[in-house]
């Protein structure tokens, strides 16, 4: 399998966005775009979506219900104890705990999901196309192997036309 990539390096957000747009007009598939900060327009153009918020909501509902169930079980069913004349099911006290524990559960589970989905965990090695992508350059990566040599060179041309300061080619075969 070919692992050749064509990389367009941009200086500015504007030229990057323009380049993406023109590449997409030509139906040239973009492998990925690397930017030093999140650019919503880019994410939008690339149609990147995350299901994390939905997952978070599900976590939250499950968490809240299980916390309430746990509280009810422990303080009403398992071992009811009279504290200061309160009924065993002293619901107002449970609200606070439910809120905070739900938050805690959502945080932990979301972080875990994030870590799994974004493939980010300690020691994970980064696949770096260009080291400047985290500094001051914006990078479009085209999977040359997937597109074929011709389309790739066309993509390179389009990118340099739309303001890329550099067009690089990279072979990541030896890395993997």
């Amino acid at each position: 399998m070919s692992t050749k990539y064509k990389i367009g390096v941009f200086d500015e957000e504007k030229t990057l966005v323009a380049s993406i747009k023109s590449l997409q007009e030509r139906n040239l598939a973009i492998f990925d775009v690397f930017t030093p900060y999140p650019i919503h327009e880019v994410l939008h153009l690339l149609k990147r979506k995350s299901k994390l918020p939905t997952a978070g909501l599900i976590y939250g509902i499950t968490g809240a219900l299980s916390v309430l169930a746990f509280l009810y079980y422990t303080s009403v069913l398992d071992w009811p104890i009279d504290y200061g004349g309160k009924p065993f099911n002293s619901f107002p006290s449970f609200i606070v705990i439910t809120i905070v524990l739900t938050i805690l559960i959502v945080t932990i589970t979301s972080l875990f999901t994030f870590s799994v989905r974004a493939k980010l965990f300690p020691g994970q090695e980064a696949v770096i196309f260009d080291e400047r992508a985290t500094d001051d350059k914006f990078i479009i990566v085209i999977d040359a192997g997937l597109l074929g040599g011709e389309a790739a060179s066309e993509a390179g041309r389009i990118m340099s036309e739309s303001g890329a300061v550099e067009i690089l080619e990279k072979d990541l075969t030896e890395k993997k």
């Binding site: 504290y83 200061g84 004349g85 309160k86």
Partner: protein, 984 residues
């Protein structure tokens, strides 16, 4: 109920040779306790592991990882009545030469752990005083002499006996005088023994000496009635009491006895609608004065002139002879009127040790006809026999080297005699001097021989508190040390072979058995031992003619008293008394009920004087050469007077008492045939030094809050709920979001009658003894960390010159809506189905949140490890001291919260006993330690679900209220309003 009144006598009924074996085994078992490593001693036969295990086991539980090997060591032959794990109660009596009580001794596995009042006793009933309660700890005092000494070197009893007998014989042969100096002896058998002992010598004198003397009363009654006695004051029969410096509820004569008779006329229950009225003249603020309906501060030197005027006014009204005395500027018309209105139903009493004052008191009581009813000369209190003059004579003779042998018993003249220096100096010149003492004290080491005496819990004795009221003292533990009873020593030295035990038995056989209607002596003896008391009606002494001459003499020589300068007055404090038990850490840390001070004695000064002189509490003042003492601004102290407690300033009494406070005994004077506890100075010098006092309460006003609710008798009679109007108001406001919790079965409650509570603090020590409450020491008390589960709050109202005082016992209120329970994160405190606010120490992690959220602040925190900690070396470090611990109550670890449990262990014990017998728990069966020790029955405990119980009736009383009831904490403790017998 419990297996009461088992007698130690049955021990000796083990048949045949076993007896000796048991005896040996029993003794060595106790002695082995003092070996360092109990585990190394395979032959220890007692399950003392609960005690000794405290250190090992609790540490192990804490770390939960070390498992020590527990040994279960059985008896070789188990004594019949000892069941491991069950408490036995022995009836006995307490007398220390100063105070008497008929008691029950609770023993567990052979060791006494608690003192309770003997309900069969007509003298003190179930009540005890703080000192009696604490006496069990004195048994386990490390400082006690452990074996006889000759000089400073140990000697065997045999050798000591031989030397003493020889020496006595020599002296007797040469005609030298042999003097026996003892504290007051109230044991009739001992008196007989002393007489027999004395008869063996040609030149023998017996002197009785009281550290705090009642010599003037004895003297005055001798002069007027021909009886050298102290009358019994029947406050229960009196309508009016006029008292002069007599702290009869605190430390004068027999406080427990007086409290019960006094409060029986101060209660407003069971239809009783009248109260006695109590008018009190005094200089210092005593416990009695603080309970009086009317209290008039006076200078001590003015007492005589006031009394004389009182006499004149009454005599005038009654048409009797009036004497020429200086006018007194104090308005006593009201007092005169009240006394006249209650002729024959009043008591005039003075606590001043001055014969002429006592003569005038006698005269007034005679005028009012009080000897018929309220002042009982026929049943006198046999508490103090010492005559001051006799002691002075002895000192003279000693100094003149006229005495050849001096045997001391239970006295400490090196500490508490005003001429102690002269006494000590004279001692060295005596041929034979023998000291017999239970405690380690200043006199120990000054004599040629030290023959240590058993603690009263180890000895046999009897006592006759009033003629016909006998009680027995029996050993409840075999002697811990190599000591011997005083009587055994006397018997040995007089060459008699019988033991004191046999002697005592014979004495009863000869003297009292014939008076009883019982057939066999053994049955009589066992019965008396089980009961602890035995009453017979002896012949009344015939009263000789009343001699008025001395009275007249006293009334004719009244001086106007002192107006300028300062008069210093010494008094025995409620906690330490005369200082005999100062080395008892429980007593040392018992705050004075009025001053709320412990671990120190101070010069109480009146607020006016303090302001004039710029003295603040804690400033050290100089009262003479080498006499500096911290001042204490005491509301109610008479202007121009200073009061200082006796019993402090020991130099050689043990680790607790030594160097605490100032010994003021040396400043007492022998004047006019009596020892005067006090002196006069013209000026007080304020020094720049300041001392931090160990006070347990520093704010004295109720700040207008309805904490102690009070009313007057007249208002009460009109409306029983007077003064308690807030209760109805708060009750009507009580609303709750949550439904009320229902208590099925038991709902324990405690009722406290503030009218009956005089603040004697017996409950505080009873609680401490029952619940293993640690002593924390002066510096911790200074930091306000005293551990007492029950404390007596004291508030002043009105002016600082003549304040009104209220006492309020405060313990965990066991609220049904307890704020503390809600906030504990780990569920270490919660509510039981019996209404108890539970506290489980082993669950507590010590966040102290419950302490903060308790509106009553009755929870206590273990700031340090108070057990087995050298920094708190009071009684919970040595193995001996720890023997007093109650094995049914956990010893708390550092970092946990503790508080009053309503003596949950007693509740459980009583319930279990009822279950075993298949019966219901009766009202009054459960008595927490505080309730049980209360001499005035101010505390009532019971099941609030039982509408017939005493406590339910108390809660239904219109006087009943709850502390801070507006908080809706629903306490299980209720208070009854205080009613004062005052005009309003």
């Amino acid at each position: 109920m419990k297996n009461y009144y088992n007698s130690i006598e049955e021990f000796n009924n083990v048949p045949g040779q076993e007896e000796e074996k048991f005896e040996k085994e029993h003794k060595s078992a106790v002695l082995e306790l003092f070996e360092d490593d109990i585990a190394k001693k395979p032959s220890s036969r007692r399950d003392f592991l609960k005690v000794f295990g405290f250190s090992v086991t609790s540490a192990a539980v804490l770390a939960s990882c070390e498992k020590p090997i527990h040994k279960a060591i059985p008896y070789v032959i188990q004594p019949e009545e000892i069941v491991p794990g069950k408490a036995l109660h022995y009836a006995s009596s307490y007398f220390d030469g100063h105070e008497y009580a008929s008691i029950l001794v609770k023993t567990r596995d052979g060791r006494p752990i608690k003192i309770e009042g003997n309900t069969l006793s007509v003298f003190n009933g179930k009540g005890t005083s703080a000192r009696v309660q604490a006496s069990v700890l004195s048994l386990y005092d490390d400082a006690r002499l452990k074996a006889p000494l000759s000089g400073n070197s140990p000697i065997s009893w045999d050798l000591a006996d031989r030397e003493i007998i020889n020496s006595l014989a020599d002296i007797n042969n040469s005609g030298g005088e042999i003097v026996l100096l003892t504290s007051s002896i109230i044991s009739p058998s001992t008196k007989r023994l002393i007489a027999e002992f004395g008869a063996g010598f040609t030149n023998f004198r017996w002197v009785q000496y009281d550290a705090v003397s009642y010599s003037a009363i004895l003297e005055a009654n001798q002069q007027v009635f021909g009886k050298k006695v102290i009358p019994d004051f029947r406050f229960d029969k009196a309508n009016t009491i006029v008292s002069f410096n007599a702290d009869f509820l605190g430390s004068w004569l027999a406080p427990v006895h007086f409290i019960s008779s006094y409060t029986s006329r101060r209660k407003l229950d069971e239809g009783q609608n009248d109260m006695l009225r109590h008018i009190h003249f005094e200089s210092g603020m005593s416990l009695t004065g603080s309970n009086a309906d009317q209290r008039i501060p006076i200078r001590p030197s003015r007492e005589k002139i006031i009394l004389a005027n009182l006499y004149n006014k009454i005599a005038d009204a009654l048409g009797k002879e009036v004497f020429d005395v200086p006018e007194c500027d104090l308005d006593i018309e009201g007092v005169v009127a009240e006394l006249l209105g209650n002729k024959g139903k009043s008591v005039v009493v003075s606590g001043t040790n001055d014969t002429s004052i006592q003569l005038i008191v006698n005269a007034i009581n005679l005028l009012l006809g009080n000897y018929e009813t309220c002042v009982d000369l026929d049943n006198p209190l046999n508490l103090a026999n010492g005559t001051d003059a006799a002691m002075e004579d002895l000192l003279k003779d000693l100094s003149a080297e006229k005495v050849s042998a001096l045997i001391l018993y239970n006295v400490n003249p090196a500490y508490d005699f005003h001429s102690s220096e002269a006494f000590v100096a004279a001692l060295s010149a005596i041929k034979l001097s023998v000291n017999m003492s239970t405690e380690f004290n200043e006199t120990v080491g000054l004599c040629k021989f030290e023959c240590p005496v058993h603690h009263y819990l180890e000895s046999w004795s009897d006592a006759e508190i009033t003629p016909g009221q006998l009680s027995l003292t029996q050993p409840c533990i075999h002697p811990i040390f190599d000591t011997r009873s005083f009587q055994d020593s006397l018997l040995t030295w007089s060459g008699v072979q019988t033991s004191w035990h046999e002697y005592l038995k014979n004495s009863w056989k000869e003297n009292y058995f014939p008076l009883s209607k019982q057939s066999g002596f053994e049955a009589f003896w066992t019965g008396s031992l089980k009961d602890g008391v035995y009453a017979y009606s002896g012949e009344k002494l015939k009263s000789p003619e009343i001699q008025y001459g001395s009275i007249a003499a006293a009334l004719e020589s009244v001086d106007p008293g002192q107006e300028e300068g300062f008069e210093v007055l010494f008094y025995p404090s409620v906690s330490l008394g005369n200082g005999k038990h100062s080395n008892n850490p429980w007593l040392m840390e018992l705050p004075d009920p009025v001053a709320k001070l412990c671990w120190d004695n101070v010069a109480a000064i009146s607020p006016m004087d303090a302001e004039e002189l710029g003295i603040l509490t804690g400033d050290v003042v100089k009262l003479g050469e080498n006499f500096s003492i911290p001042a204490f601004v005491q509301p109610g102290q008479a202007k121009g007077t200073l009061s200082i407690a006796l019993g402090y300033g020991h130099s050689q009494a043990g680790k607790v008492a030594d160097k605490v406070g100032v010994n003021v005994y040396p400043f007492a004077k022998f004047i006019g045939g009596n020892r005067k506890m006090g002196f006069s100075i013209s000026q007080i010098e304020k020094s720049i030094d300041k001392v931090e006092l160990a006070l347990t309460q520093t704010h004295h006003s109720m700040e207008g809050r309805a904490i102690v609710r009070e009313t007057s008798l007249s208002k009460y009679l009109k409306d029983p709920a007077s003064g308690n109007e807030l209760h109805a108001k708060h009750e009507s406001n009580h609303q709750t979001l949550y439904p009320d919790v229902k208590y099925d079965g038991f709902h324990w409650g405690l009722g406290i009658d503030l009218n009956s509570c005089v603040g004697c603090s017996a409950c505080v020590i009873a609680c401490q003894a029952e619940n293993n409450i640690p002593v924390v020491g002066k510096s911790e008390v200074q930091k306000r960390r005293i551990m007492h589960w029950i404390k007596i709050d004291r508030y002043y109202s009105d002016s600082p010159q003549q304040p009104m005082v209220v006492f309020q016992p405060l313990m965990c209120q066991h609220c049904d809506n307890a704020p503390c329970e809600n906030v504990c994160p780990v569920s270490a405190t919660n509510h039981s189905s019996e209404g108890l606010n539970q506290m489980s120490y082993n669950r507590c992690i010590g966040t102290k949140y419950c302490i903060n959220n308790c509106p009553y602040k009755v929870r206590r925190f273990n700031w340090y490890r108070y057990t087995n900690n050298k920094a708190f070396d009071f009684n919970a470090v040595s193995d001996l001291g720890k023997m007093v611990l109650n094995p049914d109550v956990t010893v708390r670890e550092r970092g946990v919260v503790e508080k009053c449990t309503f003596c949950a262990q007693r509740i459980q014990e009583t319930k279990l006993a009822a279950k075993l017998e298949g019966r219901a728990v009766a009202d009054g069966d459960v008595q927490p330690a505080c309730v049980q020790s209360c001499p005035s029955n101010a505390l009532i405990f019971g099941n609030m679900n039982d509408k017939e119980s005493k406590v339910s009736k108390m809660k239904a009383d219109p006087r009943n209220y709850h502390l801070l009831e507006e908080l809706h904490t629903l306490p299980s403790v209720g208070y009854l309003t205080k009613v004062r017998n005052v005009e309003e």
